[in-house]
Protein backbone atom coordinates (compact mmCIF):
# COMPACT_ATOMS: atom_id res chain seq x y z
CA UNK A 1 0.00 0.00 0.00
CA UNK A 2 2.75 2.37 0.98
CA UNK A 3 4.60 1.78 -2.27
CA UNK A 4 1.44 2.44 -4.21
CA UNK A 5 0.78 5.68 -2.36
CA UNK A 6 4.37 6.73 -2.87
CA UNK A 7 4.12 6.14 -6.60
CA UNK A 8 0.97 8.27 -6.72
CA UNK A 9 2.85 10.94 -4.79
CA UNK A 10 5.73 10.79 -7.20
CA UNK A 11 3.31 11.25 -10.08
CA UNK A 12 1.77 14.27 -8.35
CA UNK A 13 5.22 15.66 -7.74
CA UNK A 14 6.07 15.33 -11.40
CA UNK A 15 2.89 17.22 -12.23
CA UNK A 16 3.66 19.91 -9.72
CA UNK A 17 7.04 20.88 -11.09
CA UNK A 18 5.86 23.57 -13.50
CA UNK A 19 3.06 24.60 -11.17
CA UNK A 20 3.54 27.02 -8.38
CA UNK A 21 1.82 27.91 -5.21
CA UNK A 22 -1.32 29.86 -5.31
CA UNK A 23 -0.68 33.01 -3.49
CA UNK A 24 -2.11 36.33 -4.51
CA UNK A 25 0.50 38.91 -5.36
CA UNK A 26 0.31 42.46 -6.51
CA UNK A 27 2.66 44.10 -8.93
CA UNK A 28 2.92 47.88 -9.07
CA UNK A 29 5.07 50.32 -10.94
CA UNK A 30 5.18 54.10 -10.92
CA UNK A 31 5.83 56.27 -13.94
CA UNK A 32 5.09 59.98 -14.23
CA UNK A 33 2.94 59.92 -11.10
CA UNK A 34 0.83 57.19 -12.59
CA UNK A 35 0.66 53.85 -10.83
CA UNK A 36 -0.08 50.76 -12.84
CA UNK A 37 0.28 47.04 -12.31
CA UNK A 38 -1.66 43.85 -11.99
CA UNK A 39 -2.83 41.26 -9.49
CA UNK A 40 -1.71 37.70 -10.11
CA UNK A 41 -1.55 34.31 -8.51
CA UNK A 42 1.90 32.82 -8.39
CA UNK A 43 1.62 30.17 -11.08
CA UNK A 44 -2.14 30.53 -11.23
CA UNK A 45 -2.70 33.31 -13.73
CA UNK A 46 -4.02 36.85 -13.32
CA UNK A 47 -6.78 37.76 -10.90
CA UNK A 48 -9.62 39.02 -13.09
CA UNK A 49 -12.41 41.33 -11.98
CA UNK A 50 -11.03 41.73 -8.50
CA UNK A 51 -11.66 44.82 -6.37
CA UNK A 52 -8.62 46.99 -5.88
CA UNK A 53 -8.15 50.18 -3.95
CA UNK A 54 -5.38 52.65 -3.33
CA UNK A 55 -5.04 54.63 -0.14
CA UNK A 56 -2.61 57.27 0.90
CA UNK A 57 -0.64 56.87 4.08
CA UNK A 58 -1.63 60.41 5.03
CA UNK A 59 -5.22 59.18 5.05
CA UNK A 60 -7.98 58.98 2.54
CA UNK A 61 -8.59 56.85 -0.52
CA UNK A 62 -6.96 57.80 -3.82
CA UNK A 63 -8.66 55.46 -6.26
CA UNK A 64 -10.40 52.12 -6.50
CA UNK A 65 -11.96 49.84 -9.06
CA UNK A 66 -11.96 46.33 -10.49
CA UNK A 67 -9.10 44.73 -12.36
CA UNK A 68 -9.67 44.04 -16.05
CA UNK A 69 -9.58 40.62 -17.69
CA UNK A 70 -5.79 40.70 -17.57
CA UNK A 71 -5.78 41.56 -13.88
CA UNK A 72 -4.55 45.09 -14.65
CA UNK A 73 -5.24 48.25 -12.74
CA UNK A 74 -3.99 51.79 -13.09
CA UNK A 75 -4.58 55.14 -11.48
CA UNK A 76 -3.02 58.56 -11.35
CA UNK A 77 -1.62 60.14 -8.25
CA UNK A 78 -2.47 63.81 -8.71
CA UNK A 79 0.19 65.58 -6.71
CA UNK A 80 3.28 64.77 -4.70
CA UNK A 81 2.44 62.37 -1.89
CA UNK A 82 3.82 63.07 1.57
CA UNK A 83 3.18 59.53 2.75
CA UNK A 84 3.49 56.08 1.15
CA UNK A 85 0.65 54.90 -1.07
CA UNK A 86 -0.76 51.44 -0.47
CA UNK A 87 -2.50 49.46 -3.18
CA UNK A 88 -4.50 46.44 -2.11
CA UNK A 89 -6.64 43.80 -3.78
CA UNK A 90 -9.20 41.49 -2.25
CA UNK A 91 -10.86 38.61 -4.09
CA UNK A 92 -13.59 38.49 -1.43
CA UNK A 93 -13.07 34.82 -0.74
CA UNK A 94 -10.07 34.95 1.50
CA UNK A 95 -7.26 36.09 -0.78
CA UNK A 96 -5.82 39.51 -0.41
CA UNK A 97 -2.56 41.25 -1.10
CA UNK A 98 -1.16 44.72 -0.88
CA UNK A 99 1.89 46.62 -1.94
CA UNK A 100 3.21 49.86 -0.50
CA UNK A 101 4.92 52.44 -2.68
CA UNK A 102 7.21 54.84 -0.85
CA UNK A 103 6.45 58.56 -0.98
CA UNK A 104 9.77 59.23 -2.71
CA UNK A 105 8.44 57.52 -5.82
CA UNK A 106 5.89 60.26 -6.27
CA UNK A 107 8.39 63.12 -6.11
CA UNK A 108 6.92 63.80 -2.69
CA UNK A 109 8.17 64.33 0.81
CA UNK A 110 11.93 63.82 0.59
CA UNK A 111 11.96 66.28 -2.29
CA UNK A 112 15.31 67.58 -3.46
CA UNK A 113 16.25 70.97 -2.09
CA UNK A 114 14.39 73.67 -3.94
CA UNK A 115 16.49 75.35 -6.61
CA UNK A 116 17.15 79.06 -6.26
CA UNK A 117 14.41 81.12 -7.85
CA UNK A 118 16.93 83.25 -9.65
CA UNK A 119 17.18 80.78 -12.51
CA UNK A 120 13.64 79.56 -13.26
CA UNK A 121 14.38 78.44 -16.82
CA UNK A 122 17.27 76.23 -15.70
CA UNK A 123 15.14 74.60 -13.01
CA UNK A 124 12.38 73.93 -15.49
CA UNK A 125 14.79 72.30 -17.85
CA UNK A 126 16.27 70.21 -15.06
CA UNK A 127 12.83 69.17 -13.90
CA UNK A 128 11.82 68.24 -17.44
CA UNK A 129 15.02 66.25 -17.91
CA UNK A 130 14.50 64.51 -14.57
CA UNK A 131 10.98 63.50 -15.59
CA UNK A 132 12.22 62.11 -18.91
CA UNK A 133 14.99 60.15 -17.24
CA UNK A 134 12.58 58.81 -14.68
CA UNK A 135 10.15 57.66 -17.35
CA UNK A 136 12.92 55.98 -19.34
CA UNK A 137 14.32 54.20 -16.30
CA UNK A 138 10.87 53.07 -15.23
CA UNK A 139 10.23 51.66 -18.69
CA UNK A 140 13.47 49.69 -18.58
CA UNK A 141 13.18 48.52 -15.02
CA UNK A 142 9.55 47.39 -15.06
CA UNK A 143 10.12 44.03 -16.79
CA UNK A 144 12.98 43.31 -14.41
CA UNK A 145 10.85 44.14 -11.41
CA UNK A 146 8.15 41.83 -12.76
CA UNK A 147 10.64 39.01 -13.11
CA UNK A 148 12.01 39.49 -9.63
CA UNK A 149 8.51 39.49 -8.22
CA UNK A 150 7.70 36.22 -9.97
CA UNK A 151 11.04 34.60 -9.15
CA UNK A 152 10.84 35.36 -5.47
CA UNK A 153 7.94 33.08 -4.91
CA UNK A 154 8.59 30.39 -7.44
CA UNK A 155 8.47 26.98 -5.88
CA UNK A 156 11.65 25.14 -6.41
CA UNK A 157 11.76 21.45 -7.10
CA UNK A 158 14.51 21.04 -4.50
CA UNK A 159 12.38 22.77 -1.87
CA UNK A 160 9.43 20.48 -2.53
CA UNK A 161 11.65 17.43 -2.38
CA UNK A 162 13.35 18.55 0.80
CA UNK A 163 9.98 19.11 2.43
CA UNK A 164 8.89 15.60 1.49
CA UNK A 165 12.09 14.17 2.91
CA UNK A 166 11.63 16.31 5.99
CA UNK A 167 8.26 14.61 6.49
CA UNK A 168 9.87 11.20 5.99
CA UNK A 169 12.52 12.21 8.53
CA UNK A 170 9.90 13.28 11.03
CA UNK A 171 8.17 9.94 10.61
CA UNK A 172 11.49 8.17 11.13
CA UNK A 173 12.18 10.19 14.27
CA UNK A 174 8.70 9.37 15.53
CA UNK A 175 9.20 5.66 14.92
CA UNK A 176 12.61 5.76 16.63
CA UNK A 177 11.14 7.51 19.66
CA UNK A 178 8.25 5.08 19.93
CA UNK A 179 10.65 2.15 19.50
CA UNK A 180 12.87 3.48 22.29
CA UNK A 181 9.88 3.91 24.56
CA UNK A 182 8.90 0.30 23.95
CA UNK A 183 12.47 -0.82 24.62
CA UNK A 184 12.41 0.88 28.00
CA UNK A 185 9.29 -0.91 29.10
Amino acid sequence: MILRVLSVLAALLALSVPAEAHKLKLFATVANDRVSGYAFFIGGGRAEGVDWSATSGSGGPIASGKTDDQGNYAFAVPGPEAAPVTVSVDTHEGHMASVTLGAERFGGAPAPAAAPEADPTGTDRDAHMAALVEAAVARQVTPLAEQIEALQDRLRYADILSALFMIAGLAGAGLWLSGRRKGEK
Binding site: A21, A163, I167, L175
Partner: protein, 205 residues
Protein backbone atom coordinates in the same frame (compact mmCIF):
# COMPACT_ATOMS: atom_id res chain seq x y z
CA UNK B 1 -8.27 30.02 0.27
CA UNK B 2 -7.23 28.28 3.41
CA UNK B 3 -3.71 29.69 3.46
CA UNK B 4 -4.42 32.88 5.37
CA UNK B 5 -1.21 34.94 5.55
CA UNK B 6 0.25 36.72 8.56
CA UNK B 7 -0.97 40.15 9.53
CA UNK B 8 -4.64 39.88 8.63
CA UNK B 9 -6.32 38.05 11.50
CA UNK B 10 -6.76 39.65 14.91
CA UNK B 11 -4.95 38.37 17.99
CA UNK B 12 -7.99 36.77 19.68
CA UNK B 13 -8.78 34.80 16.51
CA UNK B 14 -5.15 33.71 16.14
CA UNK B 15 -4.91 32.63 19.77
CA UNK B 16 -8.32 30.94 19.77
CA UNK B 17 -7.54 29.08 16.57
CA UNK B 18 -4.13 28.13 17.92
CA UNK B 19 -5.61 26.67 21.10
CA UNK B 20 -8.22 24.60 19.26
CA UNK B 21 -5.62 23.37 16.76
CA UNK B 22 -3.19 22.52 19.57
CA UNK B 23 -5.91 20.48 21.26
CA UNK B 24 -6.55 18.63 18.01
CA UNK B 25 -2.85 17.96 17.48
CA UNK B 26 -2.55 16.76 21.09
CA UNK B 27 -5.39 14.30 20.42
CA UNK B 28 -3.56 13.14 17.30
CA UNK B 29 -0.26 12.71 19.16
CA UNK B 30 -1.91 10.70 21.94
CA UNK B 31 -3.28 8.26 19.39
CA UNK B 32 -0.06 8.04 17.44
CA UNK B 33 1.31 4.52 17.25
CA UNK B 34 3.85 3.02 14.86
CA UNK B 35 1.21 2.30 12.27
CA UNK B 36 -0.27 5.79 12.51
CA UNK B 37 3.10 7.53 12.23
CA UNK B 38 3.75 6.16 8.77
CA UNK B 39 0.22 6.78 7.51
CA UNK B 40 0.14 10.30 8.91
CA UNK B 41 3.46 11.06 7.23
CA UNK B 42 2.26 9.75 3.88
CA UNK B 43 -0.94 11.80 3.96
CA UNK B 44 0.95 14.81 5.22
CA UNK B 45 3.25 14.55 2.22
CA UNK B 46 0.24 14.12 -0.07
CA UNK B 47 -1.46 17.16 1.45
CA UNK B 48 1.72 19.23 1.20
CA UNK B 49 2.09 18.38 -2.47
CA UNK B 50 -1.47 18.68 -3.74
CA UNK B 51 -2.12 21.95 -1.95
CA UNK B 52 0.82 23.48 -3.82
CA UNK B 53 -0.81 22.76 -7.18
CA UNK B 54 -3.34 25.44 -7.93
CA UNK B 55 -5.75 25.86 -10.78
CA UNK B 56 -7.01 29.29 -11.91
CA UNK B 57 -10.75 29.72 -11.44
CA UNK B 58 -12.23 33.08 -12.43
CA UNK B 59 -11.00 35.78 -10.09
CA UNK B 60 -9.16 33.31 -7.90
CA UNK B 61 -7.29 30.03 -7.96
CA UNK B 62 -8.01 26.86 -6.04
CA UNK B 63 -6.16 23.78 -4.91
CA UNK B 64 -7.13 20.44 -3.43
CA UNK B 65 -6.97 20.01 0.35
CA UNK B 66 -7.88 16.34 0.92
CA UNK B 67 -9.42 17.22 4.29
CA UNK B 68 -12.17 14.63 4.00
CA UNK B 69 -9.78 11.88 2.89
CA UNK B 70 -7.40 12.62 5.78
CA UNK B 71 -10.33 12.62 8.20
CA UNK B 72 -11.51 9.21 7.01
CA UNK B 73 -8.06 7.62 6.93
CA UNK B 74 -6.47 9.27 9.96
CA UNK B 75 -9.27 10.52 12.20
CA UNK B 76 -7.68 12.97 14.65
CA UNK B 77 -4.34 12.32 12.97
CA UNK B 78 -5.47 14.68 10.18
CA UNK B 79 -4.68 17.60 12.49
CA UNK B 80 -1.06 16.50 12.76
CA UNK B 81 -0.72 15.79 9.04
CA UNK B 82 -2.09 19.24 8.15
CA UNK B 83 0.01 21.03 10.75
CA UNK B 84 3.23 19.51 9.42
CA UNK B 85 2.29 20.24 5.80
CA UNK B 86 1.31 23.83 6.53
CA UNK B 87 4.38 24.49 8.66
CA UNK B 88 6.65 23.37 5.84
CA UNK B 89 4.73 25.44 3.27
CA UNK B 90 4.92 28.52 5.49
CA UNK B 91 8.63 28.18 6.23
CA UNK B 92 9.81 27.15 2.77
CA UNK B 93 7.54 29.07 0.46
CA UNK B 94 5.93 31.76 2.58
CA UNK B 95 2.51 30.35 1.74
CA UNK B 96 0.18 30.97 4.62
CA UNK B 97 1.96 32.21 7.68
CA UNK B 98 3.65 31.23 10.91
CA UNK B 99 1.28 33.07 13.23
CA UNK B 100 -1.71 31.71 11.32
CA UNK B 101 -0.55 28.08 11.52
CA UNK B 102 -3.07 27.27 14.23
CA UNK B 103 -6.02 28.90 12.49
CA UNK B 104 -5.13 27.41 9.09
CA UNK B 105 -4.69 23.96 10.62
CA UNK B 106 -8.10 24.30 12.23
CA UNK B 107 -9.69 25.51 8.98
CA UNK B 108 -8.38 22.61 6.92
CA UNK B 109 -8.17 19.71 9.37
CA UNK B 110 -11.17 20.58 11.55
CA UNK B 111 -13.91 19.84 9.00
CA UNK B 112 -11.97 16.76 7.84
CA UNK B 113 -11.78 15.34 11.35
CA UNK B 114 -15.48 16.04 11.89
CA UNK B 115 -16.36 14.32 8.60
CA UNK B 116 -14.13 11.37 9.49
CA UNK B 117 -15.75 10.98 12.91
CA UNK B 118 -19.29 11.40 11.58
CA UNK B 119 -19.14 9.39 8.36
CA UNK B 120 -16.03 7.24 8.85
CA UNK B 121 -17.79 4.32 10.60
CA UNK B 122 -20.57 4.27 8.00
CA UNK B 123 -18.04 4.44 5.14
CA UNK B 124 -16.10 1.48 6.53
CA UNK B 125 -19.30 -0.58 6.90
CA UNK B 126 -20.79 0.37 3.53
CA UNK B 127 -20.00 -1.28 0.22
CA UNK B 128 -20.09 -0.41 -3.47
CA UNK B 129 -21.82 2.75 -4.63
CA UNK B 130 -23.06 3.65 -1.18
CA UNK B 131 -19.48 3.72 0.11
CA UNK B 132 -18.40 5.95 -2.77
CA UNK B 133 -21.28 8.33 -2.21
CA UNK B 134 -20.61 8.59 1.52
CA UNK B 135 -16.92 9.24 0.89
CA UNK B 136 -17.85 11.89 -1.67
CA UNK B 137 -20.11 13.57 0.85
CA UNK B 138 -17.24 13.56 3.38
CA UNK B 139 -14.87 15.07 0.81
CA UNK B 140 -17.30 17.78 -0.25
CA UNK B 141 -18.40 18.48 3.32
CA UNK B 142 -14.81 19.01 4.44
CA UNK B 143 -14.19 21.55 1.65
CA UNK B 144 -17.40 23.46 2.37
CA UNK B 145 -16.61 23.36 6.09
CA UNK B 146 -13.19 24.84 5.34
CA UNK B 147 -14.81 27.57 3.24
CA UNK B 148 -17.19 28.39 6.08
CA UNK B 149 -14.40 28.45 8.68
CA UNK B 150 -12.13 30.66 6.53
CA UNK B 151 -15.01 33.08 6.03
CA UNK B 152 -15.78 33.03 9.73
CA UNK B 153 -12.25 33.75 10.96
CA UNK B 154 -11.86 36.54 8.40
CA UNK B 155 -15.21 38.08 9.34
CA UNK B 156 -14.38 37.84 13.04
CA UNK B 157 -11.07 39.62 12.78
CA UNK B 158 -11.03 41.89 9.73
CA UNK B 159 -14.43 43.26 8.68
CA UNK B 160 -12.96 44.82 5.53
CA UNK B 161 -11.76 41.41 4.38
CA UNK B 162 -15.02 39.60 5.07
CA UNK B 163 -15.54 37.27 2.14
CA UNK B 164 -18.65 37.75 0.03
CA UNK B 165 -20.90 34.69 0.34
CA UNK B 166 -21.67 34.59 -3.39
CA UNK B 167 -17.97 34.50 -4.33
CA UNK B 168 -17.09 31.98 -1.63
CA UNK B 169 -19.81 29.67 -2.92
CA UNK B 170 -18.69 30.14 -6.52
CA UNK B 171 -15.15 29.21 -5.49
CA UNK B 172 -15.69 26.39 -3.05
CA UNK B 173 -18.61 24.56 -4.66
CA UNK B 174 -16.65 23.49 -7.79
CA UNK B 175 -13.74 22.49 -5.56
CA UNK B 176 -16.10 20.54 -3.30
CA UNK B 177 -17.36 18.59 -6.31
CA UNK B 178 -13.82 17.77 -7.43
CA UNK B 179 -12.80 16.74 -3.92
CA UNK B 180 -15.93 14.61 -3.64
CA UNK B 181 -14.98 12.73 -6.80
CA UNK B 182 -11.36 12.28 -5.70
CA UNK B 183 -12.27 11.20 -2.18
CA UNK B 184 -14.85 8.75 -3.50
CA UNK B 185 -12.37 7.29 -5.99
CA UNK B 186 -9.52 6.94 -3.48
CA UNK B 187 -11.74 5.48 -0.76
CA UNK B 188 -13.39 3.00 -3.15
CA UNK B 189 -9.96 1.95 -4.44
CA UNK B 190 -8.51 1.51 -0.96
CA UNK B 191 -11.59 -0.35 0.25
CA UNK B 192 -11.16 -2.89 -2.54
CA UNK B 193 -7.41 -3.28 -2.28
CA UNK B 194 -6.42 -2.39 1.28
CA UNK B 195 -9.47 -1.97 3.55
CA UNK B 196 -7.26 -1.58 6.63
CA UNK B 197 -6.02 1.72 5.18
CA UNK B 198 -9.41 3.24 5.96
CA UNK B 199 -9.11 2.48 9.68
CA UNK B 200 -7.57 5.34 11.63
CA UNK B 201 -5.30 4.10 14.35
CA UNK B 202 -7.18 3.47 17.54
CA UNK B 203 -10.33 2.45 15.71
CA UNK B 204 -9.47 -1.18 16.31
CA UNK B 205 -8.24 -0.79 19.85
Amino acid sequence: MAHIPDGILSAPVLIGGGIVAAAGVAMALRRLDDRAIVRTAILSAAFFTVSLISVPLGPTSVHLMLGGLMGIMLGWGAALAVLVGLALQAVMFGIGGVTTLGVNTLDIAGPGVVMGLLLGPAIRRATGTRRGVLAGVAGAGAVLGTGALVSLVLALSAPEYTPVARIVLATYVPLALVEAAITAAVVSFLARTEPAALEPSGAKR
